[in-house]
């Protein structure tokens, strides 16, 4: 141990005290600047981790979920009259037919020219929270179809009325034209079609939930 002398005694102790503080601050600021400029070591970009197969072609023999995420109708029906007698918008519902069979029917969306469906629905009761196991299959409300060469699906859209349902349009869609993810299909107004466009979503059956989430965005 040394004894302090006039020579060793700090001349300006507060100035000396600042040295470690300045070093700490200096390196902290330097790191922050480097991190912001060059995305240097540090912040992870925590986006979706899965490799999104968005836009990929359908694979033969594979099963897929298929649902319409959005359907838009023309302002008038097939007879060029107002929907629902002009008071309200149409109550839109659609069906998917595959190989001549109805494989899915959507819920009805009231009074809208643009209806959307999330493709998800859960009927949960409080008791379910105590340990019921729910799989993605149970929650995804969509048709299940298999892609085969030359395969097609039919989408029937109707205005659901109390008295009589009015057909809004019927589209035959070749499966080879569909891609994974969102497919927007526009239609002309004709005497047999009042559907302006259908957004179809195709999701691979049995995929990791993360990939399904990416495709639903």
């Amino acid at each position: 141990m040394t004894h302090i002398s006039d020579f060793d005694a700090p001349k300006k102790p507060w100035l000396r005290l600042m040295v470690p503080i300045l070093i700490v601050l200096g390196f902290a600021v330097l790191f922050v600047i480097m991190d912001q400029n060059g995305k240097a070591p540090g912040r992870e970009d925590q986006g979706p981790t899965g490799k999104s197969p968005m836009g990929a072609k359908l694979q033969e023999g594979q099963t897929y979920y298929l649902f319409a995420s959005e359907i838009e109708l023309y302002p008038t029906n097939l007879k060029n009259d107002a929907w629902d007698g002009g008071k309200n918008g149409p109550d839109i519902r659609y069906r998917i037919l595959w190989q001549g069979n109805q494989v899915f029917e959507s819920e009805e969306k009231e009074d809208s020219l643009i209806a959307d469906w999330s493709g998800l629905s859960l009927d949960l009761e409080w008791t379910d929270l105590m340990g019921k196991s729910i799989s993605p299959d149970e929650a995804i409300k969509a048709a299940r179809i298999r892609y085969e060469k030359g395969g097609l699906v039919e989408v029937e859209v109707e205005d659901d009325d109390v008295a009589d349902d009015d057909e809004a349009g019927r589209a035959e869609i070749q499966l080879k034209d569909l891609r994974l993810g969102r497919n927007e299909i526009p239609f002309e107004k004709t005497s047999v079609n009042a559907v302006r466009r259908i957004n179809l979503r195709v999701l691979p059956h049995g995929s990791a939930i993360r990939d399904l989430v990416d495709l639903m965005k």
């Binding site: 141990m1 040394t2 004894h3 302090i4 060793d8 005694a9 700090p10 102790p13 000396r16 005290l17 040295v19 470690p20 503080i21 070093i23 700490v24 601050l25 200096g26 390196f27 902290a28 600021v29 330097l30 790191f31 922050v32 991190d35 070591p41 540090g42 912040r43 992870e44 925590q46 998800l120 859960l122 340990g131 196991s133 729910i134 993605p136 929650a139 939930i209 993360r210 399904l212 989430v213 639903m216």
Partner: protein
């Protein structure tokens, strides 16, 4: 400049980086319903990476001023104060200056040499115990911070060795 002073400067530099570098990544999960939350509110399950300063800031913003204060005190104020004390309390040869109160303070500070690491470990342990399968992993910033604390721990020992 003595080896002790170099060690103090190195510890200060490591502390500066350790405070702002990524230290903790929390990956939230909601147990059995994780996949559902992932669909309905994916933002709730996005992993977050925090630095020590970031953790203190988050704690302060959510109103936990006490915990923010404790963490700030033990991970920023105390280590910086300790390094300043060592810088001031060593002479040119790297020996401890035996000027009454300064020597006492330096000795006292050295007794709490790993307090900051202990507090950091407590935070990580408490987060690791989160329900629903949430997990917390240490990032490289934590090791830099521990490196700074270890360096600071060595300073009084080496300084005493330098004493004639």
């Amino acid at each position: 400049m003595s080896r002790i002073h170099l060690l103090i400067l190195l510890s200060s530099a490591l502390l500066g980086v350790g405070l702002v570098a990524p230290t903790l990544t929390i990956r939230p999960q909601a147990g059995e319903f994780s996949w559902l939350v992932e669909i309905l509110a994916p933002e709730e399950l996005v992993p977050s990476t925090y630095s020590i300063v970031g953790v203190i800031r988050e704690l302060y913003l959510i109103g936990d001023v006490f915990l923010a204060g404790v963490l700030g005190l033990f991970s920023i104020v105390f280590p910086v104060f300790k390094l300043c004390l060592y810088w001031l309390g060593t002479d040119r040869s790297g020996s401890l200056i035996s000027s009454g109160s300064l020597y006492e303070w330096t000795t006292r500070a050295s007794k709490f040499s790993m307090a900051e690491v202990f507090v950091l470990a407590l935070v990580i342990l408490s987060v690791k115990a989160l329900p629903g399968g949430s997990s917390a992993t240490m990032e490289w910033g934590a090791y830099v911070f521990v490196g700074s604390a270890l360096g600071a721990m060595l300073i009084p020992t080496l300084a005493r060795k330098n004493e004639p």
